[in-house]
Amino acid sequence: MSLDSMSQIFEEMERSGLQFWEVVLASDMEERQVTRAESIAKMLTVWRAMQDAADSYTGRSRSVSGLVGGDGMKMRQYSIRGQAMSGGYVSEVIAEALSMAESNACMRRIVAAPTAGACGVLPAVLLPLCKYEELTQHQILEALYVASGIGSVIAYRAGISGAAGGCQAEIGSAAAMAAGALVALRRGTKEQIGHAVAMALKNLMGLACDPVAGLVEVPCVKRNVIGAVDAVSAADMALAGVESRIPVDEVIDAMGEVGRRLPVELRETALGGLAATPTGRAVKKRLHGPRPE
């Protein structure tokens, strides 16, 4: 089956007795004509690439513009010193989101999830959790299937590119994917997955895409943090029994509609928002001098 709506996935779970991740796995096997082992092995390469990116982060790389680099390490050290107001897990989530998104800006290897700009959100909530909870690799892969299924639904119904739908479509979608993955890891119900996705997406609705000088650096790196923290809070709310008053598919559709209504200046063109501030313009001017030979 194709992944066109969350309710379709929920119905399929009821009909077949499969878990959320298994429905997504089955759909991948069907769509790409691969075996279960081939699909899961590929998901493992995705997870390994996320782990490698985190393990090889040193904080020493700088982006082409020089605007980005080193913040993940600052946050990590602050977190290790036990100073963070947000406590152990969440402060590590923040550090990981910064590190991963910086790695992208600094031309290191990452996994687009769902886009390169939003690559930090999902690994940021999963990697530190492995330290705090006993999780098998299989459980992590299951969570990645859940995330990719949610992302597929959002891509189909609303879109996942900043150019088409603003940053809510990139960071917002990543947060929704991560929120659902966390609920699934905690063995939440399918309804709770739906509420977590809906809440994560609602909380970032309307977010503009306004990258300074058109580069995936400012504000992108730090937006990964708000995406990751949004995901953790939405997952916790859902697991606590808090419900979204608007059903998840309707929230996704609303996100798509808001994206279409966003002015083009706020959709990756670097003509509005932070990109159009005096400082943003100055950065652009500095970078777009004569092309170095």
Partner: protein, 232 residues
């Protein structure tokens, strides 16, 4: 789109369209040239021209020409790698009317002097679309195995090619035919589900009426043999 377009590609940052897609376009040019490139002129259009250097588009294109995939850690050092490999390159910007914003025209010359001109766009998520080969309009993505056949525009040539593919049990996913002028040469682009072996490609190039055959083998999936789920 499949779920690995959502969780993926695994790539060197910072932008799937400006970096990963650019690397794929460079690699496509290399494959279609069919030999080690010695010299390349790259004309950047639209957003590729605008934010190219900051996104590493220029380095990714050169990396692709050197045969690197989008997840190759050498992409940031592509210019140094090009020097080592003896590839010279030059960039400028062009204004192509009506082209996708992320478009490049690559003129590449191989070691033996063979030349190729390719126009391609990066259309999102690292996916690409080749829109011109040697000035002839085409439209293929590299998501399939692709045959690009230049043939004399005369009766029976197309039929001969499809008959052979049929005999080889190679399934045609998409096929298009363009000619520059009646009775001159034409370009056939055939996307296939199965891989085509080198000897099969050369067999086709020897057919009467065929001027040249270029074959693009789609990006290999990772080898997952030996994977055992119960070890996870």
């Amino acid at each position: 789109m499949n779920i690995f377009d959502i969780l993926g590609p695994v790539m060197v940052g910072p932008s799937s369209s400006h970096t990963a897609g650019a690397a794929r376009i460079g690699a496509m040019a290399r494959t279609l040239l069919g030999e080690e490139p010695a010299e390349a002129k790259l004309h950047l259009h639209g957003s590729f021209a605008e934010s190219g250097p900051g996104h590493g588009t220029d380095r990714a294109l050169v990396a692709g020409l050197l045969g690197m995939k989008p997840d190759d850690l050498r992409i940031p050092n592509a210019f140094a790698e090009a020097e080592k490999a003896g590839l010279s390159y030059a960039f400028d910007t062009v204004d192509l009317r009506d082209a996708h914003p992320n478009t490049v025209v690559i003129e590449v010359t191989g070691r033996s002097g063979r030349t190729l001109e390719l126009q391609a766009s990066s259309v999102g998520g690292g996916r690409i679309l080749v829109t011109k080969v040697d000035g002839v309009d085409v439209g293929f993505t590299g998501e399939y195995n692709t045959l690009i056949i230049r043939n004399q525009d005369e009766n029976g040539v197309v039929a001969a090619v499809t008959t052979i593919l049929n005999q080889l049990r190679i399934n045609v996913a998409n096929m298009s035919l363009c000619r520059s002028r009646r009775g001159g040469s034409a370009l056939m682009v055939i996307e296939t589900d199965q891989h085509i072996k080198p000897h099969q490609v050369s067999f086709m190039s020897d057919l009467e009426g065929i001027l040249s055959v270029i074959y693009y083998d789609k990006e290999e999936e990772d080898d997952v043999s030996g994977f055992d789920e119960s070890n996870l």
